[in-house]
């Protein structure tokens, strides 16, 4: 899950940068950059989800 999260994070950045060479139109670049940011934020959400699944507070009281 962590690997997937990291792939999403970097993949989002690649989508945003890919927009630079994919088109000269500002609108297209704006859409791709927004999509890229959403993908990267999805990566953080995935990472956080994995973190919550293995949360210390679920493993016996407050102890890690």
């Amino acid at each position: 899950m962590q690997v997937l999260a990291l792939l999403l994070l970097v993949g989002g950045w690649m989508i945003a940068v890919g927009g630079l060479v994919a088109s000269d139109a500002v609108a297209v670049r704006l859409i791709l950059a927004s999509l890229g940011l959403a993908t990267s934020l999805g990566g953080i959400a995935t990472l956080t989800s994995a973190y919550i699944q293995n949360a210390s507070w679920k493993k016996g009281g407050a102890w890690r």
Binding site: L6, L9, V10, W13, L37, S40, I44, T48, A55, W57
Partner: protein, 553 residues
């Protein structure tokens, strides 16, 4: 009679000016009417200077001190020449800029004290020594890393900073050529500040950039406070100061690929970040999130059902004094980022300082308003965080927006930080004792984007920015390309810098371990990690456990 003539003459002047004003005609001043006459060396011979007898009497009015006699002559036997005067003017400009940048850097350095007080005050008394020591030693660890390699990676290819004399020794940038464009990745000159980097201008730039880097590294200590192993903190700080921060610093400020998005891809002026909402605060805030995810929450922060418990800090007065120190230091952070006070539009420092002040005030106001409405009381720590949020957000756009824009940016940051703190704590379930992720990460990203919205197209620092002629203009003033450039900067921060920070700190966790033992955490980190208590005479001891406070809820 004479008085009457003078009165009549004044009347004519008044009538002429009134007529010119009403008619929309610009009055012609005497200076503009005459053709300029070049000064010659012969003219300089006729300049009178105060005699030594006059100066020996003292100069209480300050009218005699500083004259042509103080201009350094290349050849005193030949007397004062035009070349001497012109060279002195040039050196004075650089001297003013050196002094301005150094003093601004000293102010930013003092922000370390503010951070130390805010973070220590927001932690419990049993961790005061440890938290303070992290903030203290981040200065040393970070500076060492930056001197060894961080500065070279960031600024090694940044020749052309005219305000500081050109920075000609820093002329090495490693670039990849892709899709017919050059993509600057990192600098290659200035390791250990040796070789040609042993230069007066480079030293000024190093000092200023070093304290900025140190600000980024000290953000992380707040989010990981009360459970971070000191040795892991030291290694993590080295990574941040040597690699992560300088990389993004190069891309944004060192002539790297983000700054060239305008020149290469016609996106406004490329990624712009006047003083570092992205470079400093977002990098620090996102690294703080990475470390907090790896290190986990403090014992007692979350119940078994995942609901959070409040763990109040031990000294709110320390927190608010720290916030004031930070706000004071920010006047070095933002106005200092002109890297000068003379030439190339640097007089905008007044506007930048006012923007900084306004955004901090409106941020604090918004946060206190939010907390008052939502919880019925004005919250001291969140009003402090609101102040910092406004300051963080205005850091990137401070040089490009007007006062209305600055007030809106700060005000929205004040609200945003309150929402973000709740989101991080309740939804992400990430324990951030001081709110560093929200203040610096969330509001730093907002600051980067806000530049792309609110830049009003009036700032023109020497005619171009990032190699693109004209003034930086945001979406609301007609340039959508600038907003896209800022958005790509945000994507890079989240997609690359956060990932790099996470991987670096995961490696540290595997080999060294990021977190102290549960016993040490319960006892408080002062004794196990630092060997001395922060407040030995006031430490609370829970009877029968030996633990300093009861946190095992």
């Amino acid at each position: 009679m004479r008085a009457s003539r003078a009165h009549r003459r004044n009347g004519w002047w008044a009538a002429a000016i009134l007529a010119a004003s009403l008619g929309g005609v610009t009055p012609l001043y005497a200076d503009e009417a005459a053709d300029p006459v070049p000064i010659t060396t012969a003219d300089l011979k006729g300049v009178s200077t105060p005699s030594s007898d006059d100066l020996a009497k003292g100069d209480p009015g300050g009218a005699l001190t500083g004259s042509a006699a103080d201009i350094v002559m290349a050849d005193p036997k030949a007397g004062l020449t035009i070349a001497d005067v012109v060279n002195q003017v040039g050196q004075n400009r650089i001297a003013i800029n050196f002094v301005w940048t150094l003093v601004a850097g000293f102010l930013v350095m003092f922000m370390q004290a503010g951070f130390a007080m805010v973070e220590t005050g927001l932690c419990r008394a049993k961790n005061a020594n440890h938290t303070m020591m992290m903030n203290f030693m981040v200065y040393g660890f970070g500076m060492f890393a930056y001197w060894v390699m961080g500065f070279a990676i960031q600024q090694g290819g940044s020749a052309g900073i005219t305000n500081l004399g050109g920075m000609n020794p820093l002329n090495g940038e490693f670039k990849l050529s892709l899709f017919g464009k050059d993509w600057g990745l990192f600098g290659t000159k200035g390791f250990f500040l040796s070789g040609s980097a042993y230069d007066v201008g480079v030293m000024v730039l190093f000092l200023f950039q070093m304290v900025f880097m140190d600000t980024a590294t000290t953000i992380v200590t707040g989010a990981a406070a009360e459970r971070w192993k000191f040795v892991a903190f030291a290694i993590s700080t080295f990574f941040l100061g040597a690699i992560t921060y300088p990389l993004f610093g190069n891309w944004a400020w060192g002539g790297g690929w983000l700054s060239q998005l305008g020149a290469n891809f016609k996106l406004g002026h490329g990624y712009c970040d006047f003083a570092g909402s992205g470079v400093v605060h977002s990098v620090g805030g996102l690294t703080a999130l990475a470390v907090a995810l790896i290190i986990g929450p403090r014992i007692g922060k979350y119940n078994r059902d995942g609901s959070p418990n409040a763990i109040p800090g031990h000294d709110i007065t320390m927190v608010l004094v720290g916030c004031f120190i930070l706000a004071f230091g920010w006047f070095g952070f933002n106005p200092g980022s002109t890297l000068g006070a003379s030439g190339a539009g640097s007089l905008r420092i007044g506007s930048i300082a006012v923007n900084t002040m306004l955004a901090g005030a409106t941020g604090s106001f918004a946060a206190i308003l939010y907390m008052w409405i939502r919880f019925g009381k004005p919250d001291a720590s969140m009003s402090g965080n609101g102040l910092l949020a406004g300051l963080v957000a205005i850091t990137a756009p401070s040089g490009f927006v007007n006062t209305v824009g600055a007030a809106i940016i700060g005000f929205s940051a004040g609200f945003l930080v309150c929402l973000s703190v709740e989101f991080v704590e309740r939804v992400l379930k990430v324990d951030d004792p001081v709110g560093a992720i929200s203040v610096h990460g969330t509001c730093g990203l907002w600051g980067v984007l806000s530049l792309g919205l609110f830049a009003d197209g009036t700032s023109n620092y020497g005619g171009s920015w990032n190699g693109v002629d004209g003034s930086v203009t945001g979406l609301f003033y007609g340039d959508a390309g600038q907003f896209v450039a800022q958005l790509i900067g945000v994507c890079t921060l989240v997609g690359v810098i956060f990932t790099l920070s996470y991987v670096c700190n995961w490696i540290v966790d595997v080999f060294v371990g990021q977190r102290v033992s549960a016993e040490a955490e319960l006892e408080g980190l002062d004794l196990p990690e630092m060997g001395a208590l922060g407040y030995p005479e006031f430490q609370l001891v829970t009877p029968g456990t030996g633990h300093s406070v009861d946190v095992g809820r």
